[in-house]
Symmetry: D2
Subunit: 374 residues, 4 copies
């Protein structure tokens, strides 16, 4: 944000310069005030004009840089995490991916532990490859495996430990930029070791909550964030496979032809897994193109498997496994698959929707989707 309260402005119909006007503008400054008429079009543009830019990060490079960090930088109390954030070039000097979202690659070497802490910020991890780390959330060890989504809702204690002889990398997503810029967050240190070093295949939270359509009668309150600690790949894969098969059979199961997608949900209320972050998984059949769309709100995508392209406001970039890209608000995006293309996505859609700013536009047809609001 670079509004400036100065006489020089691009806004039309400004008053004629004069010594009296100069004196007035000086007094604005002296009195901690600023005129709206010099900045209306910057502050309230006709449509979102993000400072954040579309950007693609190659997984191969990210992983290499993470590996070097693993060699040079210890993990422990103070730095807390060996996480390397995706820094949107338009948002320098911050290391934000978008105005609301933080995205990072985290690296944990053989036998290492990232100490426990908790914070208001909501977080998740998604695993594009590897396994062998357990994230311990409020004392419950949760195995991390390829394709899994692991949740750490705000104010849950959490640490990670690598139980194997090889390093592991994954991505972290948080609402840290939003919470920082809104001044909403708290942070607290926890145990330096994880509080439970067991390495079960299934967490206790999953055993309580990850049964389809079944909830424990002893826990019937709606919760702010999902109680499901891990959404396992096998279920995601099956759901997408089923959607495409149903489409083949002639039933309306996909978002658009050849494009299957699921939303990860909180079983206590059917809503998003986190109060500020939506998580989705998308699958495109080979040689499929999605209709370009502009949406209010920003998102980050990671290719899970396959190859293809993404077009962001007209610029095309080729994608391969693990690559990440950012879609700022109101940026037109479209995907094209070569092989079958699987992608994980997270976004700030719950912020957009809970505060009633939702608007989705399809440029090729000129239509707004239902529920769009000005």
């Amino acid at each position: 944000m670079s509004n400036q309260s100065t006489v020089i402005t691009s806004a039309p119909n400004q008053p004629e310069p004069s010594p009296e006007l100069d004196a007035l503008y000086a007094d604005f400054e002296a009195n901690s005030t600023a005129p709206l008429w010099t900045q209306t079009s910057d502050l309230m543009p006709e449509h979102p004009k993000p400072s954040a830019v579309p950007h693609v990060w190659e997984w191969a490079k990210l992983k290499k840089i993470a590996q070097r960090s693993g060699e040079l930088v210890p993990v422990g109390r103070g730095g807390e995490r060996r996480a390397i954030g995706l820094k949107n070039p338009g948002l320098a000097p911050t290391a934000y991916a978008t105005p609301t979202l933080w995205a990072a690659i985290q690296w944990l070497g053989p036998g290492e532990t990232a100490p426990e802490h908790r914070h208001s910020q909501n977080a998740f991890r998604f695993v594009v490859e590897g396994e062998g780390v357990w994230t311990v959330v409020n004392g419950d060890p949760v195995a991390m495996r390829r394709g899994d989504l692991l949740l750490t809702p705000g104010w849950c204690f959490h640490g990670h430990h690598n139980d194997t002889g090889h390093p592991m990398a994954w991505i972290d997503g948080l609402d840290a930029p939003f919470v920082h810029d809104m001044d909403f967050g708290f942070f607290e240190y926890g145990s330096e070791r994880v509080t439970d070093e067991a390495t079960p295949a299934t967490s206790r939270a999953e055993r309580m909550w990850a049964h389809p359509g079944l909830t424990p009668l002893s826990h019937q309150e709606s919760t702010v964030a999902t109680p499901v600690a891990a959404y396992r790949w096998e279920y995601t894969d099956q759901a997408l496979t089923d959607q495409l098969a149903l489409e083949d059979e002639g039933y309306p199961a996909t978002v658009e032809p050849g494009h299957a997608a699921i939303k990860y949900t909180n079983p206590t209320n059917g809503g998003d897994v986190l109060p500020t972050i939506r998580c989705e998984f998308h699958r495109l059949r080979p040689e499929t193109r999605t209709a370009p769309r502009r949406e209010v709100g920003s998102s980050v995508w990671q290719v899970f498997e396959g190859t293809g392209e993404v077009e962001l406001d007209g610029e095309v970039t080729r994608l391969t496994k693990g690559d990440l890209f950012v879609v700022p608000s109101w940026t037109s995006w479209s995907l094209r698959s070569e092989s079958q293309l699987d992608l994980f996505r997270f976004s700030d859609a719950p912020i957009v929707e809970r505060l009633q700013f939702q608007r989705v536009y399809l440029p090729e047809t000129g239509h707004y989707l239902p529920g769009s609001r000005g």
Copy 2:
């Protein structure tokens, strides 16, 4: 309900009989009116005094009578279903199980079809034994197998067909008494044959919706009733097994010691599967007794497996596989298992709770559960 507007009443502090009073009471009748003071205590008792009575039906007898019906009574348009309702002795001449709930055993012979129709009444089926029938709900064939809960929300077309050479029996549950007595219901005939005679192992609805915590991005509206056509036994069994294992490991997972239970839920909103009917499944470890409890609202239970006893307002009845019993409102109930005891339950709790009459009382401790309301 048998209130009578007559001078003779058990209510205290009634006016002295007199010719003028007799004339007044006659004029009440003549003007389609009735005094409250003669009937307050019947109309508004100190606590619920149901006409419905606790009752147990033996599965062996029910099944036999259903089998004889199968031999003597055709199934088809007009009668619609070869269903035999559980008739609460306190609610004669109706065939209601409780003031809100209908419960029946349905019998379908080899190759038979129960024709399609739809109604405002919400319905489900639960299978205590057997398989081979497909219930076709809005054109989607849903296999019925032991332990499965199959849903037919209000106004969905549905029919059943037996694809095998042997008969099959199951129980039906509906809110038909409630809908009838409230005058809320509509009914419409459909196809005489089921509209899809395919016999898939898994319904389309399950392929869309029965993935734990995952919902299709193309269908994101909250629905009045669950879109999951079938809740399969394998998941229910696993959820209960996990709860008891977690209890063994020291975590709070059960309703009370040795008593695991799940609620079947609508994944679009985390609520009940039907707007008027709650469905649950309970498992007691061997030699376990549940704390007696009184609840506003009525329920029907069926033993799925195992042996034990139920105590209803002090009267104990032995239970074995398939037996059904009714718990009227505010009746004290307690279960005792011999072996591991598995039970399916359905109740009118959504009516009670949505209209804010919930109250749960534990007679042994004299406490009301949180949320209880007068």
Copy 3:
């Protein structure tokens, strides 16, 4: 409800009579069961076929009979209230107005007190004429005046006392039939005198809550029932006057041309005043006719002022001040005014809507209103 499990039935396609069938039907009875196929069309008719009938009560007659009760019947503990219920001729022997609603005229003589009690049943009073009684709700004295709606949500203690030298009559509305038949209700005696005999013009509840769009910051929870003890006539009258004036000015403010109407609402959530009862007030310009409509659910109306007619399933009755009439579920109703016609209405719409049975049909156009559900 008069279903009978007997071989004689009007349902089509019944089995051929035979000794075996007779034996089977006898065994149904002996085993507390009943076949569905003999009663489908009674239990689940094509559309609601209420036992309740449309009926009109003349206020002049009701008031006279209430006055005679005032002379002959004491009011006090035991009988509790000198209330005379409107007894729907189709629901004998009960004194129900509809399957869900109780409606009564209550009479309180000079200086009399109706003792305090509380019950799960939700209640209100509406005053068609007179004043001078205070209803004391949870210790808060609430003045009753012509045109006011006074609320007594479930489980609030309440009593009434007449502070004047003349008698007063009003109508009571309760969900007592519903609560009785569902077995949901509790009752408790309170003080024989009202707990606060003050006679303020405005209740404390109104001073806290009856400011338009303003709620106390100290009480920000949504409440089950409205915290507003009294909705005063002056506001109702003004709202209706404004709607008709806006219609005159060309703005969409009325339900249909010449027909203004308000819903009384709970300011904490914008919903109905009671969890089971909706209250409305309607005003028709002179010489106005409302479009006939059929609705799921039942209601009771009282003429507040003016003259006109009501047509109920084709039968026309003339209406004058104070007259009451009942509209059973799915009965076609239409109003016609001579003078300006003001009417109070209460209904079981919250039961219908919270349990998802809503359906509204306009016979003249053959359309269902949006939100109608089968």
Copy 4:
């Protein structure tokens, strides 16, 4: 936000400097990434550490500067509004009052018109003195008078015109900083003249909606923002007067002793008037001090009448009529009145609460209020 991805950091336990580390840090930059371990404590502090600072603006000075603007700066298309924003010294170069809220004094001279436009940003106006301007919201002219709160929810067309021979000033509040920084906003020009130049005492929206507890039966949907265009001073004043009188009579009506307060609400759902902004009005008895409190989220206050002091993180400033002050997130605030002290407040509490970051702390007792969340 001033995070910097550099080797120099205040975070503890950083890796030893080395040429390899320098190379790594250079490669972070080159690859649009940044390490978390150098910035954890800035990005995720122990508690909110706002860049925004507490600040007080004197009304007398603001009004003078606005008056000079009225003389030098025309109002019209392009600049759109003669509004002078309160510029938080900690948030330079922006003209934001807080990270979420814009607050400005707007000045409209005799006969002037501020042209119509609409935007996603939610807005309101509050009048501390004067009258004579009508704000026209979606074609509905709304008179502005001392003590009134006037609403302009997102995407409603609105313009203002001064119908008198004297200028008028008021304050505007918007969620413009939030909408700008999140990239959520749209803007559209409308008519250069207001679309209805009538000057009624009461708007159509008020005639439809500003009746206590009464809503039009023709408009029963819950709306995103309040449909009440104006909350009039007479009702606010009465509500506060009543709360203090009730407190005198011994009833719990106030927030704390001597401190009355109301929340302006949306009558369709009982929630906030705008999806992002909460509006309140507070009254302190003479010589009253409020308990200091820290809250997540920021707010802006204006003194409406009376004198007193505000203490913001220990710094005391005297307040008189019209003065404005900003309370950043987690800043301790306490008010002290000399005379009776009336204050208007608006805040981003709906953002905080809908996204589940609420936390309120009372430093003097060391307690968190119920509902506080980490």
